[in-house]
Structures are given as structure tokens and as C-alpha cells.
């Protein structure tokens, strides 16, 4: 298989680490050679955080080149625009959870909040297909990542990955009640 690059972005505290680790392990269970890297350190405190996953034997560095992400996954609207503008590959897909965590300049009144229309416009110019996810009946915000995962699976956005691969990957990383609750969202969330 040729290379398939997945660029994940969110705000520190949104649970991007778990999401990327599930995708990484699911891809491994599906037989893809995998390379990945996450943001750690101070940026996790409310800054932009990024995870990068690369599938395929021809992927060497874990870091994706600009404009080469086949799939951009964002957990927040501003971050969706940030990633699409710089990282998305023409013809690729953006999946984003449409929530807003206002960045500092917006909260200070020095800058404008990014609109869903601005995300759509950037996608159009980049020739990227946007998929907006929003689930109103989630038990808690920290499960938005599972709703996004459900969308990735149902739309078949990552080559070769089946439900069983995702479910096994989740069981690698979680147990008991936490596993059950996350699997329930993954299987039942209405992701549009």
C-alpha cells in the first residue's frame, strides 16, 4: 500500500492522545506498518496539540509534510481550520467535531471566532471534503473523540480498518466501565 497520512489536531485536554492511540493500534491490527508521534509537554495545557499517524512501509519519519495529510481529524473548529489550511492534501477529507474552545485572542476581543463557514470555505479552496460531527446527547464532553472515531469508521475513511480492528484497539487501551462506555458511544453515536 502507498502511504496514508492522518493528521489529528485538538486542544490540550480534549482527549486527542487516546483517539490517536486507538487509530494507531487499529491500523496495526489491520496489518499496516505504522509510525506516529504525539505532542507532549507544556502545549498540552490548553494549547494546540497534534498527533500524526502514517500508514505504509514507505512512511519513514513520523512527521507529515505540509499539504500531505490524506485525512485531517480535528476535535475543535479553530483547530480544524488551522490544520486544513496547512496540512490537508487536495482531494483529502476533514472530519471535525464542531465545538468551539475560544483561543486567547478571541476571548480578549482582539480576534474573531472562526465560523463553520470559514472552515467550509478553506476546504473548498483546498479541494477537501469536510465532514462535520456534532452529537448533542453525549454523556460528557470528553467523549467527543469517540463520536469522531465512529464517523471515521462508518465512512470507511481509513483504508483497511474494520469495526473489529477499532474494537480490539479500544480493548488494548481500556478496561471495565471505561471501555464499555467508550465502545457504546463508538457503536451508537449518531454522527450525521
Amino acid at each position: 500500500m502507498s502511504v496514508f497520512n492522518i493528521y489529528l489536531i485538538g486542544v490540550g485536554g480534549q482527549g486527542i492522545g487516546l483517539l490517536s492511540e486507538i487509530i494507531l493500534r487499529a491500523a496495526d491490527h489491520a496489518g499496516h506498518p505504522v509510525r506516529a508521534v504525539d505532542t507532549h509537554g507544556l502545549a498540552q495545557r490548553g494549547g494546540s496539540v497534534v498527533s500524526q499517524i502514517r500508514l505504509g512501509a514507505a512512511a519513514h519519519s513520523p512527521l507529515i509534510r505540509a499539504g500531505e495529510a490524506h485525512l485531517v481529524v480535528a476535535l475543535e473548529r479553530h483547530e480544524a481550520l488551522r490544520a486544513v489550511a496547512r496540512m490537508a492534501r487536495p482531494g483529502g477529507t476533514l472530519v471535525y467535531y464542531d465545538t468551539v474552545w475560544q483561543p486567547l485572542p478571541v476571548r480578549l476581543g482582539r480576534d474573531q471566532e472562526v465560523s463553520a463557514a470559514a472552515v467550509a470555505e478553506a476546504c473548498r479552496r483546498r479541494r477537501v471534503s469536510p465532514l462535520r460531527v456534532r452529537v448533542d446527547d453525549l454523556p460528557e464532553a470528553r467523549m467527543q473523540n469517540m463520536a469522531v472515531l465512529a464517523c471515521l469508521h462508518r465512512r470507511g475513511l481509513i483504508p483497511g480498518l474494520s469495526e473489529a480492528h477499532y474494537m480490539t484497539a479500544m480493548a488494548d487501551l481500556m478496561a471495565g466501565d471505561m471501555l464499555a462506555r467508550n465502545r457504546r458511544i463508538f457503536q451508537t453515536a449518531t454522527t450525521g
Binding site: V11, G12, G13, L24, R25, D28, V34, R35, A36, V37, D38, T39, H40, G41, L42, A43, Q44, R45, G46, G47, A58, A59, H60, S61, P62, L63, I64, R65, A66, G67, E68, E79, L81, R82, A85, R86, R89, T99, V100, W101, Q102, P103, L104, V106, R107, L108, Q112, E113, V114, A118, R125, R126, A141, R142, A171, D172, L173, M174, A175, L179
Partner: protein, 621 residues
């Protein structure tokens, strides 16, 4: 669920997806490392997370977080003198702290062997600079191995440990941020635990371990002999990629090697590559062979031009007719050699070999710098301190989460250098200065790490400054490691060393303390401390709320709490959002203030900031 601790001790061979930091721990287990020490700092704390996943009783080694990198190095050094294979790890700039001890190691007969694991940070992802520690390695005659990915971290540590033990010397394993944090599937060997040998084998006859003048020359001779031996024994970690190209070659190492492979992925005729695993000393024979067999060689080297100089000198000495191209531009010295950066660097020499990075679509996206968490005691402290200070006052920050105070709306901490430096810098700023009060900040973990000498100096030399000690009970920025005032070390319960009592014991007379949430009281105390005609300390304490909230969430009876803003009462003065600055508050297009339920933890530290009392605890839903 896969248990990391069980995996790290598995006796049969296996493959697993791990990050570089985790692969390192398995390698330490297999190598028979007996003593491991560290001080937390990105990109290395996850090494300790992996260690902590092994129950203490089952760990085949002793581990501690020491109070700073120098002490950590000394503990590992002492253990090696007793015959134990030891390892110390810390972040890039940690080597500056450890340097006084570190530079002695290669001069000593370390009978157990010692590996120094460095987490360098090209690109300064989470460090105050991007210093290239190969300089210090060279100064200390210590060999350096540089893995490119987790599989090599695993293999290279073993090689480092083997040589360190065999020749009773120190060896450096130099990791970089995206090697520590890279993840891939690694095939691990089996592990056969051996009966530990706890015999204290220290013998002065193995030395000398004393820096007597007449011993300096023989010790240095020994270090240089070990370095020469490393060149022979570790050169096997270098690999030559033959693409059948006799005109062009690239010499590189570490993660830039992987960047190179990506950057030239589409090239029709790829250059030959010599990938160095041993970056110091240079494997001269291999490098000379490579130079001789190419007409033009690019030295693709992240950060400084150390390899470049050695390779050019080698070509000169060996009279090799080759064009060597190193750094050609200031930008070549700066930043991480990502695939995009590597393509740009290589493209300036051989444009046809690389594809340049795609340009971005124009989009206005507000920056998102890191923020103090909702409920953070530092926010309350900064909000109060700002009220107590005048515009002209000089503020100096130290390392820790409170560095984020430099951002708006607080803009406190206009100078920041390195661990423990704030009090000393502030003392200097106070000289010949009776007009602009100097206020310095320090966290409680840094207090013990390197903060004490500056404080003792301020007392000893009677510097008239105010120190605000931000006590949150943990080492928050690097992932909540315990420190001497926590009452726990990495392994067990221990006696608390209370910050306040230490200060009292030192003789601090102007000493004030309050919870940072008591903002009005804190304003008053800071004003009094600044007015004092002597060194004064204000302890602004509040537990780290990120740690606290995580602990609360694990409890079965956990109930989320929030605040609410009453839209009728709110007069849109925006103190909560624009001056207190909690990220929980958001601003509507009409200026209305809302609470983001995904972020609010209901700590209530904001309630007192509202001039019209529009904020109140929300009724539980």
C-alpha cells in the same frame, strides 16, 4: 487491556507498539541496569511513566527522581562506583545543571558502567533553547549514540550499556523530542532475569577517584583511550545505504535520516547515504571511505556544525578529493530537521531531488498558546499580583507553569532564563534601583531544584526584592511528579520538607502566606512585601487543579461542578474574561459572556472577580 508494566518484564520475545521512551525502559531491563535516576523534563518524563507502570517490588532496578539533574548524575555515578550498571536521564538543558559532575565521569573508572540519556529538543518544543549537547559530550570526551526511532532506541541503549560496562566508562544516548515520542512496532528480545548482585564493590584501588594534580594526565589519557575504543566498537551502528550513486552522497544521523528518506522519496536517482548511529567520535575509516567514493557529499546535520567540521578536517588530513557541503545559511543552524525543513535544506543544493513543501491556503486562525488551566491557582495569584503592582515594577519568572503569566492579560514575568534563576536575576535588577520594585516568582519544585542558592544569596547579601513562591504541591508542568514538599517520592511515602519551614530556617523574616484563591488578601500581602525594606517572601499556595480534578473524576461519587453567568446581571465589563482570563469564559459576537461547560470545573475562583456579582456556582443539573 494491555498492561505496560507486565509487557516490560515479559520473559519471552514479543512485538509491541511503543514510544521511544518506553522502548528505552525495556532495553534497560534487558541490559541489567540496576540504578536509574532522573529529573523530570520534556521530552523524557514518559520514561518514568513506563518505569512507574512496573510495580515497585517487581522492578529489577532502583529508580528515583532526584531533586535536580546534578544530584541525579551523582547518584548514578556513585552506584556505578559500586559496580552497578547505572543510567541517568534528563532533558537537554538538564545537562547544564549536571555539567560539573558530568565532565568528570569520563575521567573515572566507573566499574559498573554508566549511560547518560539526554532528551535534546531541536526546535525548542518545550525548552528555553535548542542547545546541541554534542558540544558538551565532546568537551567531556564521552561517546554519543543517536537513534532515529524507537527500534533504534532499544538497540542503541543496549550497545551503549555493553560498552559502558565493558570499558567502565560513560556513554551518551542522545534522543531528540520526536524520537522520544515517536511510536512504532518494536520487536523485543526475550529477557532472562538474573540474580541481582548487591555486593558493594567500591574499592579506592580502582581509582584514583580523587582529582590529584599528578593524576590528571593519566585520567585524561584513559578517557581518550576509551573514546578511541568507542570508535572501533560502536562503528557497527553506522549504516551505509547504497543507491548506486557515485556522484552524490549524504552523511546524516538520527531523525533527520528519516526526514531525508521522505524528502527524496520521489527522486529518480537517490544519493548514497551514510547514516551515523555513532555521532561522536567520528568513525573515521567509514567516513573516509564514503568521502572517497563520491564527488560531492552533503553533511545533513540538525543544529550545529559539529560533524561538518570533523568531516572536513578528516578529508583534509586524508587528502581526499571531494566537495563537502555543510551549512550554507543561518537557517540551516536553526530548528528541527523535519521532512519539510530537510527538503528545503537539501533542495538548495540539489533542487531536482526533492519536492518542496506545499503552500498553505490563506486562512485567518487566531493563535492558541498554552494556557493556565481552569481553576489554576497561578491565575488567581497573577490577577491579584497585577493589582498590587505598578506598571513600572519589574517582574522575573522562573521555569514552571507560571511562565505562562507572560501572556496577556497578566503580562507578568518579563524575564525568564532557566531553573532557579529568578531570585538571582531579580537581585541584580535591584542594584542601584530604589525606584522600581523587583518581584520574582518561583515554583515549589524549582525551589528545591535550583532555587535555594538564589534565596540564600539574597539573604546573605541583603537584596531588597520580593519573592512570590507559587506553591501548588507538585511538579505540574512535566506531569505531576512529587517533590520534597509533597510527602511522597517516586517510590514511597517520605517526610515532608515544608517550604515555609525551610524559609524560616534560612532566616526569612518578612514571610507572608495565603491561599492564592484569597485574592484580596494576596493583593494586600504583596503590597506589604514590596513595601518591606528587605528580602520578603509571599507564599501563594493552591493545589494544582488539573491534578486535583483528575483525582476527583476517578472517585465513584464525583459530581461535576460549574459556574454560571447571569445574563441579566452581567454588564459586560469582561473582567472575568479579559482580566482574570479563565479559558472557561467565552465571548459572544454581541459581547455576552458564556461559560464553556466542557472546560469549567466549578472551582469558583472567578466568582470574586466579577464587579457586579454575575457569576455564581451553577445549580447541579
Amino acid at each position: 487491556m494491555k498492561a505496560m508494566g507486565e509487557m516490560l518484564l515479559r520473559q519471552e520475545s514479543f512485538s509491541e507498539i511503543v514510544m521511544g521512551n518506553t522502548a528505552l525502559v525495556r532495553s534497560m531491563v534487558e541490559a541489567g541496569t540496576r540504578v536509574i535516576t532522573a529529573y523530570p523534563g520534556s521530552p523524557t518524563p514518559e520514561i518514568a511513566t513506563a518505569i512507574g507502570s512496573i510495580p515497585r517490588q517487581r522492578r529489577p532496578f532502583y529508580f528515583e527522581f532526584s531533586i535536580n539533574e546534578k544530584v541525579a548524575t551523582e547518584v548514578a555515578f556513585g552506584a556505578a562506583l559500586n559496580g552497578h550498571l547505572s543510567t541517568v536521564f534528563f532533558k537537554s538543558v538538564g545537562l547544564n545543571v549536571a555539567a560539573d559532575t558530568f565532565v568528570q565521569l569520563s575521567l573515572m573508572n566507573l566499574i559498573g558502567g554508566m549511560v547518560v540519556v539526554l532528551g535534546d529538543d531541536p526546535g525548542a518544543n518545550s525548552s528555553q533553547n535548542e542547545q546541541d549537547n554534542r558540544h558538551l559530550a565532546r568537551m567531556a570526551y564521552t561517546p554519543v549514540l543517536e537513534p532515529a526511532d524507537p527500534a533504534e532506541v532499544y538497540r542503541f541503549y543496549r550497545a551503549a550499556a555493553d560498552l559502558a560496562r565493558k570499558r567502565c566508562m560513560p556513554v551518551i544516548l542522545r534522543l531528540t523530542t520526536h524520537v522520544c515520542h515517536a511510536k512504532q512496532k518494536v520487536a523485543f528480545d526475550g529477557w532472562r532475569p538474573s540474580e541481582p548482585d548487591n555486593t558493594p564493590r567500591f574499592d579506592p584501588a580502582n581509582g584514583s577517584y580523587i582529582p590529584l594534580a599528578h593524576m590528571v594526565a593519566p585520567k585524561k589519557t584513559r578517557a581518550l583511550a576509551n573514546l578511541a575504543a568507542a570508535e572501533e566498537e560502536l562503528a557497527g551502528l553506522n549504516t551505509r545505504v547504497d543507491n548506486g550513486e557515485r556522484r552524490r552522497g549524504v552523511i546524516t544521523s538520527g531523525l533527520p535520516y528519516l526526514s531525508l528518506l521522505d524528502a527524496i522519496g520521489a527522486a529518480v536517482q537517490k544519493p548514497d547515504i551514510l547514516k551515523l548511529g555513532l555521532v561522536y567520535p567520528l568513525a573515521r575509516r567509514q567516513v573516509a571511505d564514503f568521502l572517497r567514493s563520491h564527488r560531492q557529499v552533503k553533511v545533513l546535520e540538525e543544529l550545529d556544525d559539529i560533524l561538518e567540521h570533523e568531516i572536513k578536517a578528516l578529508a583534509f588530513d586524508e587528502k581526499i578529493d571531494v566537495e563537502i557541503v555543510g551549512k550554507t545559511d543561518t537557517g540551516d543552524w536553526i530548528g528541527e530537521y523535519t521532512p519539510d525543513k530537510t527538503a528545503a535544506v537539501l533542495g538548495s543544493l540539489w533542487p531536482e531531488l526533492v519536492t518542496l513543501p506545499a503552500s498553505a491556503v490563506e486562512a485567518q486562525v487566531p493563535e492558541r498558546p498554552p494556557q493556565l488551566c481552569p481553576g489554576c491557582g497561578h491565575r488567581s495569584a497573577f490577577f491579584a499580583v497585577k493589582q498590587a503592582l505598578s506598571r513600572d515594577d519589574i517582574t522575573v519568572a522562573d521555569i514552571g507553569c507560571h511562565t505562562l503569566g507572560y501572556l496577556p492579560p497578566y503580562e507578568i514575568g518579563q524575564v525568564l532564563a532557566c531553573m532557579g534563576a529568578s531570585t538571582g536575576i531579580g537581585s541584580g535588577l535591584a542594584l542601584f534601583n530604589d525606584r522600581r520594585p523587583v518581584v520574582v516568582f518561583l515554583g515549589d519544585s524549582t525551589f528545591f531544584h535550583a532555587g535555594l542558592p538564589g534565596i540564600v544569596n539574597a539573604l546573605f547579601n541583603r537584596h531588597d526584592i520580593t519573592l512570590i513562591l507559587m506553591e501548588n504541591g507538585t511538579t505540574a508542568m512535566t506531569g505531576h511528579q512529587d517533590h520534597p514538599a509533597s510527602g511522597r517520592n517516586f517510590n514511597d511515602v517520605t517526610d515532608v520538607i515544608p517550604v515555609r519551614q525551610v524559609l524560616e530556617g534560612l532566616g526569612v523574616k518578612n514571610l507572608y502566606e495565603t491561599d492564592a484563591y484569597r485574592q484580596a488578601e494576596l493583593v494586600d500581602l504583596v503590597r506589604r512585601a514590596v513595601a518591606d525594606d528587605a528580602f520578603a517572601v509571599v507564599i501563594a499556595r493552591h493545589p494544582c487543579m488539573l491534578k486535583f480534578t483528575r483525582e476527583q473524576r476517578r472517585k465513584p461519587d464525583y459530581r461535576p461542578r460549574r459556574v454560571a453567568v447571569d445574563p441579566q446581571t452581567c454588564d459586560r465589563r469582561h473582567v472575568c474574561i479579559a482580566r482574570f482570563g479563565c479559558p472557561t469564559f467565552s465571548r459572544g459576537p454581541d459581547g455576552a459572556v458564556a461559560v464553556n461547560p466542557d472546560l469549567c470545573i466549578g472551582d469558583g475562583s472567578c466568582v470574586q472577580t466579577c464587579p457586579v456579582k454575575a457569576i455564581s456556582p451553577a445549580k447541579s443539573s
